[in-house]
């Protein structure tokens, strides 16, 4: 079968991406694929905007669907934006945390549970960073341990990784 021989027009960023792809060794493949899948799914979840149309809502992981419906009043804000914005109130962050916890406890697949866990702790971290407020009953040490572990995951998006790092530097007042 004949190849089309058609060239793709690539910009600098796309070219660099492909060159970096060539750097990974074969031995890294199995783990990198699993991590990359988690990263992509989490990034997709964080991109979810409100309000959400029916088709998209049905396609989202279940844990995000109900949360999205409850947060409809925050039109135009994605979950990622809510977690990283200083403007998001602690009340909203508590809602995000509670939903993530519920979904994590009922998740059927390990990947879904890990994503829910990331969102759960991200909400707690956001409250610490933006409001200097602790919205969790976990001890400070347990939270530090969780943030440390999560920020080191290869699949953690940069915005959440930064959030976890910043949360570790905060002293808190409890709600």
């Amino acid at each position: 079968m004949k190849s089309t021989k058609k060239k793709l027009r690539l910009n600098k960023k796309q070219t660099t991406r492909l060159l970096e792809l060539g750097l990974q060794s074969d031995s890294e493949l199995p783990q990198s694929n699993a991590d990359t899948l988690k990263e992509q799914l989490l990034v997709d979840a964080l991109r979810s905007k409100l309000p959400i149309d029916q088709a998209l809502e049905e396609a989202l992981p279940a844990m995000i669907q109900s949360l999205a419906r409850e947060l409809e009043s925050l039109s135009g804000s994605s979950l990622g934006e809510l977690l990283t914005s200083p403007e998001t109130s602690t009340e909203i962050l508590v809602k995000i945390k509670d939903h993530a916890k519920e979904r994590g406890n009922t998740a059927q697949k390990e990947t879904e549970r890990e994503i829910a866990l990331a969102v759960y702790y991200a909400a707690i971290a956001a409250a610490l960073v933006h409001h200097n407020t602790k919205i969790s009953e976990h001890t400070d040490q347990n939270l530090k341990n969780a943030f440390n572990k999560l920020e080191q995951h290869a699949w953690m998006p940069t915005n959440l990784r930064t959030l976890f790092q910043e949360a570790n530097t905060h002293h808190t007042t409890e709600t």
Binding site: K2, T4, K7, L18, L19, E20, L21, D44, K49, L56
Partner: protein
């Protein structure tokens, strides 16, 4: 400046079916026209950009490419000096064209036409090696993508290719413009997780093909990583 000759240019126009350029083919007993055509097709752009970076005009650079490939390559002067044990083919070719250009400029110094008014000049005059290496990298990537696409078609994986192509051409990988769910709908893929798995498989194949092409150019496994880092450095 070599006078433009009436070269037998059939090998320049010939489309070669060879997908790799290997030291063994180049250094083989008979340098066939198809291999010559392959060499010219693959490397004329990096060589051209290098010459333009050395301030040869567009016309002069085109003449020199013909002369270089005909006299040096076809004439086997170039590859008589080649030793695959001494490194990568890219480095060898870059050194060869550099020496060739220096010889030309030294012999023709008063009359070398500079590209004073030529609008086709490279963006970074003064870095001809950078221009050469960028073009080299782009050529390598395009060949890899073409091989990957052909492989997908042969294996009836057109959907895999189209998904990979759209992922690759995504203007900004982390932007909110990318909607994997919509893409799944468009391509009749059941879930985003399945789509990402398909992309991963093609990323694995791209990696394997790309690294294989570098090895065929004389790189050891360790040198492949070094080569890629050097190419990354010019972007």
């Amino acid at each position: 400046m070599p006078k433009r000759k009436d070269y037998n240019q059939s090998w320049m126009a010939e489309e070669s079916e060879f997908d790799t350029t290997q030291w063994t083919k180049i250094l083989g007993a008979s340098l066939s026209q198809s291999v010559m055509g392959e060499l010219y097709r693959k490397y004329r752009k990096p060589v051209y950009l290098y010459l333009r970076g050395r301030r040869f005009s567009d016309d002069a650079a085109r003449d020199l490419i013909q002369a270089f490939f005909t006299d040096k390559v076809l004439g086997r002067q170039l590859f008589k000096k080649a030793d695959p044990k001494k490194g990568k083919f890219r480095t060898f070719l870059l050194t060869s064209i550099r020496n060739y250009a220096i010889d030309i400029q030294r012999s023709q110094k008063p009359t070398v036409s500079l590209d004073d008014e030529d609008h086709d000049r490279p963006a970074r005059i003064g870095d001809p090696a950078v221009a050469f290496n960028r073009a080299w990298a782009m050529q390598l990537i395009q060949e890899t993508l073409q091989e990957l696409e052909a492989e997908c078609r042969q294996q009836d994986k057109q959907t895999h290719w189209e998904l990979f192509r759209q992922w690759l051409l995504d203007p900004d990988q982390n932007s909110e413009k990318t909607d994997m769910t919509a893409l799944c709908t468009q391509l009749h893929i059941k879930t985003p997780a399945q789509a990402y798995t398909m992309i991963f498989r093609l990323k694995d194949r791209f990696r394997a093909i790309f690294r294989g092409r570098l090895r065929s150019q004389g790189c050891t496994e360790t040198e492949v990583d070094q080569e890629i880092r050097e190419l990354l450095g010019v972007f």
